[in-house]
């Protein structure tokens, strides 16, 4: 009967969606216009396109496959610190890329602990440079996401079914066949697609870890076209190819449902019984390995940088404060925008609103930034625009992730209480204050925390606009550019700590509200 609800106008949501679409497509058009048209792509550009698709396929597949044993182990084991561990395992997703790369190198690099151990054991070394590194980093960032989504799948199997299985005397193999595999078949394609989309537009990983012509992604090619060849036409063309890729991938999503509850309530006890024997060992191993893989790099960076933090010059602290203020504004903006969009979608808004909300995922931040630069240069000086534009772009780039958490919650809210609120004439601000904010506090806190953390770690468009008010990630690069590598690693720890703290504050705030 949902199709027939009383038509309540949500002009805000539609207007925001239209503005988003105009921004993403308009900036691309502006870049193409400045270049007086699109340029043809060369063979190296096409190579970048193929590599981009290939690495996204591999990264998504590896993340999904590795996530299964970890999620199963977490679903059927209870141990002290489990809740903390589940929370910590989410950390890589909001880790600033440059910090993550430093951590991965110190663990998996040529001089890292892993290769030291392999050498000592007389085994061949592994390399994280080139495509292996891109994939390793992508798995590092996206394994936690996959584990969370699959874990939710396990927890969503109704308790009655496990009881039924028990009363029928099912062996673990039977449970796997009749309960777990059907769940995985339903959940895995969506997990895969979510990671695939994230990896398709990932940019900074390939930038920081390098790899040369064999590991060039589309976004890196866009960067080269901009910065080095000043070939805006080629940059715009590559931006268009990137959007086409994502649109094709998202068309797949019409058939594959992306699991909705991105960051919503997690830790419901599963009814899966923890079995003894070798399974217990295997589960322990899966959890230990995953925790080591995800947390060791973070720990390594922390240990190295922490002692030098008190020695950081005051300018770094200034930049940190500036970045925090910007991240807070970005988060607020992201909360407002995603709330308006989610409500419009939940109240039966047109499908295009949801598509527009996902558009930032496919947009190239470089094209977005340059397009805005071109569009705004007549309006205000780029220097004055640098920080506001960075704040706005960071809010927008975080939207798709926030929406994934908010849309299902907003739909539930409308389904459960929409009519009651309508019949009591709760509208506008009263409805927002008394119904929407209290009921959506958790996903809103999550969305805000995600936006704040992502904004904090973003280097992004600010370099293009140039500013005399550097952000913390910019300061980190300045330190590296001035040979001050030890200070840079301290700065990285500071950046990471602030990102985590911001996420935690918002998320926690949302839970307590």
């Amino acid at each position: 009967m949902a199709a027939g609800v009383f038509p309540i106008r949500q002009p805000g949501g539609a207007a925001i969606a239209a503005a988003l679409a105009a921004l993403v497509l308009g900036t691309l058009a502006a870049v193409a216009w400045q270049a007086r048209g699109l340029s043809a792509l060369g063979p190296w550009d096409w190579r970048a396109v193929w590599f981009t698709i290939w690495q996204a396929v591999v990264s998504a597949s590896v993340s999904a496959i590795l996530a299964i044993p970890v999620a199963r182990a977490l679903a059927r084991r209870r141990f002290a610190g489990r809740a903390v561990l589940v929370t910590l395992l989410g950390a890589p997703f909001i880790l600033p890329v440059i910090v993550a790369i430093m951590g991965l190198i110190s663990v998996f690099g040529r001089g890292g602990v892993l290769n030291d151990a392999l050498r000592a054991a007389g085994l061949p070394e592994i390399s994280i440079y080139g495509w292996q590194g891109v994939i390793l980093a992508h798995v590092f960032f996206n394994l936690p996401l996959s584990v969370r989504l699959i874990l939710q799948g396990w927890q969503a199997i109704p308790a009655e079914r496990f009881r039924l299985a028990e009363s029928l005397g099912f062996a673990p193999r039977d449970i796997a066949r009749h309960l777990e595999r059907p769940m995985l078949r339903a959940v895995l394609p969506g997990v895969w697609l979510a990671v695939f989309l994230v990896c398709l537009t990932s940019f900074t990983v390939a930038l920081a870890l390098g790899g040369g012509p064999r590991a060039t992604t589309v976004e890196l090619a866009i960067y080269q076209a901009f910065r080095f060849d000043f070939d805006l036409g080629r940059a715009a063309m590559l931006g268009l190819v990137q959007i086409a890729l994502c649109v094709a991938a998202m068309a797949l999503a019409r058939w594959i449902a992306i699991p909705a509850a991105f960051g919503a309530g997690l830790d419901m006890p599963s009814q899966l019984r923890g079995l003894g024997g070798w399974r217990r060992l295997a589960d322990g191993l899966a959890i230990t390995l995953a925790a080591a893989f995800l947390l060791w790099p973070i720990l390594a960076v922390t240990l190295r940088g922490l002692p030098r933090i008190p020695l950081l010059p005051p300018e770094v602290w200034d930049a940190a404060v500036r970045s925090v203020v910007m991240a807070l504004i970005s988060a607020t903006l992201a909360i407002l925008l995603s709330l308006a969009l989610a409500l419009a979608i939940a109240r039966g808004g047109a499908r295009w609103i949801e598509t527009a909300g996902m558009l930032p995922l496919v947009a190239s931040p470089l094209v977005l930034g340059t397009g805005l630069f071109i569009l705004l240069r007549g309006v205000a000086s780029p220097q004055a625009m640098a920080l506001p534009v960075t704040v706005a772009i960071n809010a927008i780039m975080a939207l798709p992730f926030g929406l994934r958490a908010l849309i299902p919650a907003a739909r539930d809210l409308e389904g459960d209480f929409g009519r009651l609120a309508d019949s009591l004439d709760m509208r506008g601000l009263a409805r927002l204050r008394l119904l929407v904010l209290p009921r959506l506090a958790r996903p809103l806190g999550f969305a805000g925390g995600l936006a704040a953390a992502l904004a904090m770690g973003d280097l992004g468009v600010i370099t293009l606009f140039a500013t005399d008010q550097p952000t913390l990630p910019l300061k980190l690069y300045q330190l590296m550019n001035s040979y001050r590598m030890a200070d840079a690693s301290a700065c990285a720890v500071l950046l990471m700590a602030i990102s985590f703290a911001l996420f935690w504050l918002f998320d926690r705030g949302g839970r307590l509200a």
């Binding site: 910065r227 300018e315 500036r322 920080l387």
Partner: protein
Amino acid sequence: MKSRLIAAMIVPSLLAVAPAAAQDRPVLTVYAGDYVASEWGPGPQIKAGFEAFCDCELRFVTGDILPRILMEGEGTQADIVFGLNTDVTARARSSGLFAPHGQDTSDMSLPVEWTDPIFLPYNWGETAFIYDETRLENPPASFAELLEAPDDLKIVIQDPRASISGLALLLWVKGIYGEDAPDAWAKLAPKVLTVTRGWSESYGMFTEGEADMVLSYTTSPAYHIAAEEDLTKKAAIFPEGHYFMTELAAQLASTDQPELAQQFMDWILTPEFQATIPLANWSLPAKLPQDDWPEVMRDLPRPEKTLFYDEAEAEALRQPALDEWLRAFSR
């Protein structure tokens, strides 16, 4: 410290940084590379030094200089650009946005002759591979030895499609090996641990101990000696020669402060300005007698031979050399 924090927290300052030029003094706007204006670069000294006599405010705007100037065209607010490299001067020149510097460049302390009327060098150095003598006891003594070294000697280089030092390496190899450059790349490629976007990522990996050698500059060891008292970082000096790199300044023809801009250009080659370069920019001064260099720079091992392609040659070589490089590294 506390008041600084509070000052930085005031949000309006973030959102409405309209050109704070409203003060009485005229403003000279200098577009500069990102590191220049940071407190660890030469920027603060340059600003203080110039403002001491110009009765003006010097404002650095950092970021990607040339892409920005090209996009802004004649409407740019820049009066000066500071930190261009020779690999982009051809494109910068053809934009017609720049005016002559008007300086006498006949007696520079550069290893090459400089006659360019528009782009004025303020520092220089050469490409070099840096190593840590405690980790690499027998560094290659020549480029040829580097090519013949075992493949477990790992080096990190920068991407010539994204970094000036990476591009300089292309021209370095071309300068030594000419037609045979593809063979040289084929030998070098297996030793390349990774190709990073920029210099800082490469150098970070080197100091982490990830690589045995890193593509950097002949002057890099000076930083470790002067700032860290670390004498173990060395540049491998090759008899085949090293590629010359310089950073350039130029004034915009469209400047609304022509006198100030000219004053700044006139100041660049003065001993006062040049003396700040070595220990703030970690490179060699463009016009300063060697006796006036800091000791740490004077004592650095110098290459005997300098390789350099002028703008036109470099522009002509760029694409073919890049194609050779791409082919070698996609195998």
